[in-house]
């Protein structure tokens, strides 16, 4: 039953040696900027910890830097916001499966949260329906959440991350760390308004799973749109030089727009296209969030 999470843990272990994993832990814990004032104890500094948490006096008496640890006065809540519509039954720009990549990213962050002692909840769905899970802090619960994402495979509902975001803004009133896993669906004015509202209440991190490069598909791949599975896409036409050029321009413009929009809203953002770059991207994301404008 814990197949998905075990695989994710294995990936984190294999691909990240101990130091990097602790680095991630540090990244994650520094995501939360609000500290309780109850000092608990000191521990060794790990790269990624906030510099301001270093107890300089204690460090001076010690050979290694020491960091103050506080007792969290409440458990944090990680909200995984995942688009699980049919759009995620497609491939990424690197040819990987979008749904499994989303599960990997959700699983890694969720595992960090569970190790940190936080609760995890999942808000997922499509344009038609949004499902929210209870908040729990166990690995079994996280595995269950990941299985829910997987169980949506094969759905024929169209996707719209705005639906999930609006559900959150109307149903959840406590502060959360939201990690949004979406794809290259364009972010329009509606989305911008919703994100702005959420941003005021929650910590928001954004992971974009990049969609396939339609102008660069191999000739024999016989592509089709998940929205119209009975109709193939004409790869011969899509790879014509003129079309390819215009597509590249349009894609670059859309990508720049998304990056600019999320930057304007102060949301850390990363793009991911393949599982092998997942750890690095996650680190970048958490780092960006810590360094981002407050």
């Amino acid at each position: 039953m814990t197949a998905l999470l075990n695989r994710i843990k294995a990936r984190m272990t294999i691909h990240a040696h101990r130091r990097t994993r602790r680095l991630l832990d540090g990244d994650y814990s520094s995501v939360f900027h609000g500290h309780s004032l109850d000092f608990d104890d000191l521990r060794d500094y790990i790269p990624g910890d906030e510099i301001r948490d270093i107890d300089w006096k204690a460090t001076a008496r010690h050979t290694e830097p020491l960091v103050k640890r506080y007792v969290a006065h409440r458990r944090h809540i990680l909200g995984l916001v995942v688009d699980t519509s049919r759009n995620f039954d497609a491939v990424t720009s690197a040819g990987a499966d979008k749904r499994h990549l989303a599960i990997l990213m959700a699983g890694m962050i969720g595992y960090l949260a569970v190790r940190h002692g936080d609760d995890v909840m999942l808000i997922h769905g499509s344009a038609e329906r949004t499902t929210a899970s209870p908040r729990k802090g166990s690995e079994a619960h996280l595995e269950h959440l990941l299985q829910q994402i997987l169980a949506e495979a094969g759905t024929d509902s169209p996707g719209s991350i705005n639906t999930q975001l609006q559900w959150i803004s109307s149903h959840i009133n406590h502060r959360m760390l939201l990690v949004v896993i979406s794809d290259q669906a364009p972010l329009g004015p509606d989305e911008e308004a919703t994100i702005r509202r959420l941003r005021a209440q929650h910590e928001v991190l954004w992971i974009t799973v990049t969609d396939a490069d339609l102008a660069g598909l191999p000739a024999a791949s016989a592509p089709f749109d998940v929205a119209r599975p009975d109709h193939g896409l004409p790869s011969a036409v899509m790879t014509k030089p003129l079309v390819r050029q215009e597509f590249a321009l349009a894609e670059a413009a859309r990508r720049q727009h998304r990056i600019d929009l999320l930057a304007k809203l102060g949301i850390a953002h990363t793009e991911i296209d393949h599982p092998k770059s997942a750890l690095g991207r996650l680190h970048t994301l958490l780092l960006r969030h810590r360094r981002g404008p407050r």
């Binding site: 339609l214 598909l217 859309r254």
Partner: protein, 324 residues
């Protein structure tokens, strides 16, 4: 215009349709690649342009292929123009033999009119005309130039209707002063028989012999002798006599002449006479010369096969354009 091998074309068409049906491209297979948000691509103007171009090229290619296939099939079906030729008709000679004696003058114009109708019904036969009274004159020799024949007949008819003031007058030329008597029937018939040419060829020969058989004078041949000559020359005599209540003996004599030569005797005047004469002559002649008509097939492959060649070139050009 018929298609000789229409069944072959039909079979090939069915085979072609079946081949296209069996070898048509399969639907998207399981190995195909799912992608999302294809609107990113399909909303691009250049993509739409390219798709429109491809659609046009495909339609053009399909059209050219279908046209090429159809014209090849049309060529394979062997379009031909079929002509049935009856050479026996060309071996028939009909001599119109007209008595222009005084007793017949009243009928001759009508007879010539009847002859013109007769000529209209003929097709392929050679026709000649000989007029006789005291002596015989060849009005025109055996010919298949029907326009000329009709001209001559019309002019002769005019001559008889106007008593020689218009058209051709035969009554003077056929009664020279040095020959006594008139209406020398036997001599006339012999002259008519003698006017057949190409005597060494085996041809079907018949005479339409229009006379009232009112002999006046001393002929060289009497009618029976003339009939013997006709029989010897293998000429059938179809006699055509004006209706007359007084001429039963003469009519019987004519009938016997016709019977001996294998012809028939008709009375002029009834509306269906001409029909019956034509039918009779043609059927009689058909019996005598068993018609062995044959068919000439004129193949006309130039248009469909030419189209197919051009279409094939077009298919290659378009296929090359589509590939590149």
């Amino acid at each position: 215009m018929v298609l000789m091998f229409w069944w072959l074309a039909l079979i090939l068409a069915v085979l072609a349709v079946a081949t296209v049906w069996f070898f048509r491209r399969p639907k998207a297979t399981a190995s195909s690649l799912p992608v999302a948000h294809s609107g990113r691509m399909t909303s691009l103007p250049s993509f739409r342009r390219a798709m429109r171009t491809r659609l046009l090229t495909t339609v053009a290619l399909l059209g050219v292929i279908v046209l090429t296939g159809l014209s090849s099939l049309a060529g394979i079906a062997r379009p031909a123009w079929i002509e049935t030729v009856n050479p026996e008709k060309k071996l028939r000679d009909v001599m119109l033999c007209l008595d222009v004696s005084g007793s017949m003058l009243g009928y001759d114009a009508d007879l010539l009119e009847a002859y013109q109708e007769l000529v209209d019904r003929f097709d392929g036969e050679r026709i000649g005309m000989t007029v006789f009274n005291a002596t015989a004159v060849s009005a025109f020799p055996l010919t298949d130039d029907y326009d000329m024949v009709e001209n001559f007949l019309a002019e002769a008819e005019d001559g008889f209707r106007t008593w020689g003031s218009e058209g051709t007058d035969y009554s003077w030329s056929t009664s020279p002063p040095n020959i006594g008597g008139s209406s020398l029937i036997g001599d006339g018939l012999v002259s008519c028989v003698d006017n057949f040419d190409r005597k060494d060829e085996k041809r079907s020969r018949s005479i339409v012999f229009a006379t009232d058989n009112m002999l006046a004078g001393d002929p060289l041949f009497d009618l029976n002798e003339a009939a013997d000559i006709a029989v010897d020359a293998d000429v059938r005599v179809y006699s055509l006599s004006p209706p007359s209540i007084l001429t039963t003996t003469q009519t019987k004599e004519l009938k016997s002449v016709s019977d001996r030569t294998g012809g028939k005797q008709f009375d002029m005047g009834s509306a269906s006479t001409i029909d019956r004469i034509v039918e009779e002559i043609q059927s009689q002649e058909a019996e005598n010369t068993p018609g062995r008509s044959y068919t000439i097939v004129h193949d006309m492959p130039a248009i469909p096969l030419g189209l197919a060649v051009f279409g094939l070139a077009g298919v290659f050009v378009l296929a090359w354009r589509t590939k590149s």
